[in-house]
């Protein structure tokens, strides 16, 4: 975060030195895009907050740990596709799951779907890509994440 602040300020200063007018246009363009996206993001975050109240992380972890076999994979993929968990929370969670005895393939599927598929953030994605392309991307990325997750888990065990 500090790095981002530093980079933004440096870029702004350099940009200002070269061309003051162009810089203002750039800032205005960026902020306009931000303002147009903000309502959708707020709505998604509000919806996710409500959903996560009824489906807290602890419950998710419990179900991932309890189900083996195909059901375990299916739950991992489903939760991963829906959840909106930042990396700094997801990885410690995955680490805890490993310690509690959940198999690597299931954790790998959870991690890969979490990173690559975003069902709840679809309203945001649609604003940039349109409905069809967004669905197509999520479907292809879901398939890829299942392949990556399952094979990673299996190779890891060899």
């Amino acid at each position: 975060m500090k790095l981002l602040i530093f980079i933004t300020i440096t870029c702004l200063i350099i940009s200002f030195i070269f061309n003051r007018q162009k810089t203002w246009i750039g800032i205005r363009k960026g902020l306009k895009m931000f303002l147009n996206l903000a309502p959708t993001i707020l709505m998604v975050l509000a919806a996710v907050s409500i959903l996560l109240y009824f489906l807290p992380n602890e419950l998710i972890v419990k179900h991932l740990g309890e189900n083996a076999g195909t059901a375990g994979y299916a739950i991992a993929a489903l939760v991963g596709s829906f959840a909106l968990i930042p990396g700094f929370i997801a990885y410690p969670l995955a680490g805890a799951l490993v310690k509690s005895g959940v198999g690597y393939p299931v954790i790998a599927v959870f991690i890969t779907t979490l990173m690559m598929v975003g069902i709840l953030t679809l309203p945001i994605e649609i604003k940039f890509f349109g409905l069809k392309t967004s669905l197509l991307r999520n479907m292809l990325f879901l398939m890829a994440s299942l392949i990556i997750g399952i094979i990673t888990g299996i190779i890891y065990h060899l």
Binding site: I27, F128, L140, A144
Partner: protein
């Protein structure tokens, strides 16, 4: 202002109702509402409240300074393996959630980046960005990360190629958000 309201009515109404209900929860000491507002919504919001405006300022600057000709040459249809390499390195250096990558993808598209490279960029952003890898190695070990990365790379390139094929006879279009 009127246009803004019209364009975002659904999300704005939803957010306002949500805020009112959360405020009421705080006033009446309604625990589920307080928990949703404080432990979840605020935590999410805090993560992006400074991050997104800064990122969008950078995107705006990119919009006025990055030349279309050069982007087309290095990342466009004819950019080949070098172009793929450049977008992968670019995405690895980034931070933030996936929805932060969509506006960057829009900028790339606007400047003439090929369909293939846009989806390779998104794929690499999801799977191998460096800040995320450091976390992964810390909690799941370097062996896990290495295997996952080596499997991810060919698959995201494959998806990029598939997307390019799919859009060969169709119009690919992105929007400002």
């Amino acid at each position: 202002m009127k246009n803004y309201w019209k364009r975002h009515r659904t999300s704005l109404v939803f957010t306002i109702i949500f805020s009112v209900l959360i405020s009421l929860s705080f006033i009446t000491d309604f625990q589920p509402g307080i928990s949703i507002g404080k432990d979840r919504f605020w935590v999410f919001l805090k993560e992006m409240i400074l991050f997104l405006p800064l990122m969008f300022i950078l995107i705006g600057l990119g919009d006025v300074w990055i030349s279309k000709e050069k982007t087309e040459k290095h990342l466009g249809e004819q950019s080949g393996i070098k172009g793929m390499f450049v977008v992968i390195i670019m995405s690895m250096a980034q931070v933030g959630p996936l929805y932060g990558a969509f506006p960057v993808a829009y900028l790339l598209w606007k400047k003439g980046t090929s369909v293939r490279n846009i989806f390779i960029y998104l794929g690499a952003f999801c799977t191998i960005k460096i800040p995320m890898l450091t976390f992964e190695i810390g909690f799941l070990g370097w062996k896990f990360s290495l295997i996952r990365t080596l499997l991810s790379l060919p698959l995201i390139i494959l998806i990029g190629i598939l997307m390019e094929r799919y859009f060969k006879n169709r119009k690919f279009e992105m929007f400002e958000g």
